[in-house]
Each structure stands twice: as C-alpha cells, then as structure tokens.
Subunit: 150 residues, 4 copies
Amino acid sequence: MALPSYIEDFETWQEDFRYRYQISVRFSETDAFGHLNNTNAFVYFEHGRINFFKDTGLVQEWFSKDGETIPVTADLHCDYLKQVYFDEKLDICVKVAHIGNSSVDLHYLIVNEKGEPCMTGRGKIVQVSRETGKPSPWTDSAKGYLQKGF
Amino acid sequence: MALPSYIEDFETWQEDFRYRYQISVRFSETDAFGHLNNTNAFVYFEHGRINFFKDTGLVQEWFSKDGETIPVTADLHCDYLKQVYFDEKLDICVKVAHIGNSSVDLHYLIVNEKGEPCMTGRGKIVQVSRETGKPSPWTDSAKGYLQKGF
Amino acid sequence: MALPSYIEDFETWQEDFRYRYQISVRFSETDAFGHLNNTNAFVYFEHGRINFFKDTGLVQEWFSKDGETIPVTADLHCDYLKQVYFDEKLDICVKVAHIGNSSVDLHYLIVNEKGEPCMTGRGKIVQVSRETGKPSPWTDSAKGYLQKGF
Amino acid sequence: MALPSYIEDFETWQEDFRYRYQISVRFSETDAFGHLNNTNAFVYFEHGRINFFKDTGLVQEWFSKDGETIPVTADLHCDYLKQVYFDEKLDICVKVAHIGNSSVDLHYLIVNEKGEPCMTGRGKIVQVSRETGKPSPWTDSAKGYLQKGF
C-alpha cells in the first residue's frame, strides 16, 4: 500500500497518537451497501477533534455566544483502509502535526477493536474572527494548549 | 389500515395540500437494510417546512442574526406507509392545520413518483424568543402569511 | 404542560425505564439556531432502540446477511420538552410498552445530566420479511427477549 | 492562495467541468457556528458523484441487489474556500480526472449562485467485489461510460 503524503513511516506515525475518543457505529450511519457510509468518517473526525480541543482546554471561547473567534476547516483528507460495519467500536485518535500562526494541522487515525487502522486523515483548522471571517492568531495560552497535543 | 389520529378522511386530507417541494433520495440517506433510514423522514419534513415558511414569506426574521425569535419544534409525528429507496423522487407536501397564538400545527405528506403516499406526519412549531426561550406571539402579518398556507 | 397521549402519569412512566444508553451531543448535530437540530431526536431514538434490542438479545438475525426478517418503523412520535445544546451528556432510555403479534411499541425518554427530561417519544416497530415486506410474527424466543424490556 | 496539489491552473481546471447537479443547503446541514457544517461537503460530493455515475449510465449494476460489484471510496479530499450558509443554491460539479484498471479519480467543484468556488475536492473510487471486497476491473463498457465524463 502506498502511504498518503502526510505519513512518512506508518508505525512511528501511529505510535505518536496519545488522544483517543471511543464511539460505536450507529445504524443510521450505514448505507445500502451494508457498511459505514464514507461521509461519516468526517463526522467522526470532527467529533474527535472537538473533544480533543476540549480536553486540551481550548474550546471554551469558541462555543460561548460572545466568543470573538470560531475554528473553520481549511481542508480535510481521509484515506479509507478498511470497510467498517454497524456496531463496531472505533477509537478516533487525534494529534497535532503542526501549529501555525492562526491555524493548526491535525492528524487522525481511526482503529477498530482489533487495533486495525480503518481510516487515516489530516486537515487544517483555522481560527477566524466571527465578525470578519479573517484569520485570528492564536494567543500564547491557546498555543500552550495545542502544544500539549503533540 | 387504521388512520393516524390527525387524519379524518384520507382522500380529503390529501387533496388539501397545495404546497409541494421535490427532493430525490440521497445514497447517504439509505441504511444497511437497503432502504431510506427512518430518521430522514424528519429531515425531509424540516426541509419542506422551512421552504414552505420561506415561500409564504415568513422566515426572514428567524434567519437574520438580529432576529428576536426562532421557531422550535414542540412535537413531531411520522407514520410510515411504504418503504422508500435510493434515488426515488419524492414530493414533500406541507399544509397549515391550525394557527395558535404563538404556534402553528403543520401536516406533512410525502408521496413518490407514482403518487403513492409513503409517509404522513404532523407537528407543532412554536415561535419563541431567542433570548428567553419563551413563546412569542405571532404578529398579525405573520398570521397573514400562515393563513395563506391553509 | 399537557401530557402526550402515551403518558398517563409522568412520574410513574419515567420510573419504569430500566434501560439507558449514554451519548454526548455532537457539534455536527447542532444547527444554526445554536441548539440540537430536532431531527437528531430520532437518530438518538434509533441508536437507543437498536442497542436496547441488542442488549435484550434480539438483533442477531436482523443484522446477519441471510436473516429473513428486518424491523421497520411503523410510526414515531417525539415531544420536545427542553432545548439541548452541544456537548450535553444525554441518557436515551427505552422500554417496551406493548408486544403485538409481529410488532412492538417502544417508549423513549431522553434526560440530561441534571436528570431533566428533554424529549419523550414512542413508536411502533414491525418485524417484516426481508423478501416480501409483509409482517412476520415474533418467535416465542423473540417474545421472551422483548418481555425482558418491560 | 496556494492551490491544492490536484489543481495546476485553477481557471483551466474549473472550465473543464461539464457535469453539474444543483442542490440547496438544508437547515439541518448547518451547525451552531451559523454556517454549513464541514462534514456535508462530503455528502454533497457523494450525491453529485452518484448522480454523475447514473447520468453516464454506470450505476445500474451497483444498485441492483444481485450486482456483483460496488464502488468504495479509497480517499477523499476537500478544500474549503468560502463559508456557505443556509438556503444557498449550490452547483456540485464533477469530472473524471483519471481512469485506472478498477478505479477512477474524480474531481469536484462546488460553486454558489454568484459562480464563486466554495469548495474543491478530489477522491479515488474503487470498484470492488461485493463478495470479497477485492478490486474488480472495469469492463470495457464501464470504461466507455467513464470516458464520457472527461
């Protein structure tokens, strides 16, 4: 298997994940081909990502009504390695790959109960002003939170 | 077939719908039983309902940032008459059944291309204050819009 | 508050639930009004229902490729009591209200972390032949499983 | 703006799309940040892709019960250029970028009513055996259908 461009060595890449969030595949997330519909990979990525941010302490401002910034997705990428079925227990693993001035590049790995990688992914999140939509630099404290996620 | 409590005579009830919004069933809306997943009936009801409100002229305030009110669902009911499959073209029909002080009772009918009823439904929408969450009475002009939907 | 027709006495009704399945509200399940989108009540009902069936021992045939029967929803009803927001932890409670020849009537209750009821609901599930779509009576063993859910 | 790796020259790339499928953004597809939730880009890609396949004549076997093959997503990529809001009318544009032995690389472009690009994307679809999950080469006639999509 050719590796996606964002993974140099799969084993090293996989070992680096420390954050995991467990979900179980809902029936409403399957499709008429009998397996998990591809679009839900990104639902899982988002759910893992936001819990990751929350657990690092980062989200409080984004989700308050008066918060001045929100995170937006700049890009997202998913590689599908293994079909997934109803009722599987999956670990959504998330890590920080790179911290920019107002953005952060996250990597994702979804593994099944046997520990087999089912999906890998990456994507850049940009913090923007709620008002103008323009990029809004991380504060030092936000950077501190993100650095915990390496 | 026993009729749901909100339908007295099916033929009369069905003839009363004047508003229709057409959609086609997406593959991501099917499930591993090979048919449309039941939860999407309510996605279709909402999509039909909001387009109905929009076409009567009612929605502009709800969807502006500074609007003082939003509509919330008080209850929803769906009766499933016929299984629906990927790629079917469906008409979502919506009508006003009753206008309250700050609420409106809507009825729904979803028919396939052969004109066969697949789902029927009803539900009450309440206009509430965005700030307090308390019911907020219709203005006369809003009532006027709703009355067009009988 | 007027009670929905399927609830006689709220306290007694609520105490009867023994099955609970916990979920946490995903960000992708909210909508632009800032709260949980109404359609997800039914996603939660289905997820609770199928886990309930699984935990009573009932689902194995339905989800095997060669199974002869599948469950379909005959109707569904939701009453919304309290707005729900991103990241709330919810208990989806499920119980059997009535067992028919080939159907079962289930009741649902969704409560937040403070124990406040947010949504109540009910709905009939019918077991049908995968081949013909016609109702297929419960076996004695299936009835036995369902009786555990009272 | 740096171009994604799958686009050499934006103008040429954009002009190459001949297939368009129009949708309108549903309220249930927005999130609490007030805009279209990022995960729906992939719902739109899939809906555009399957309609594209259908319109080239390719899908009949995949969606028949006795079909021996199904398409699975090998990877998917989305670049988000512009926030999208409730009720926008969007064109999902799809084209074939490369035909492999049992796979096809598709490109996607989503534009709003003003013709502004909101999302671009790409992804490889592999035809696999329903039974074994192994890649299943295109027939000559399938290749013929796909070639129409360049």
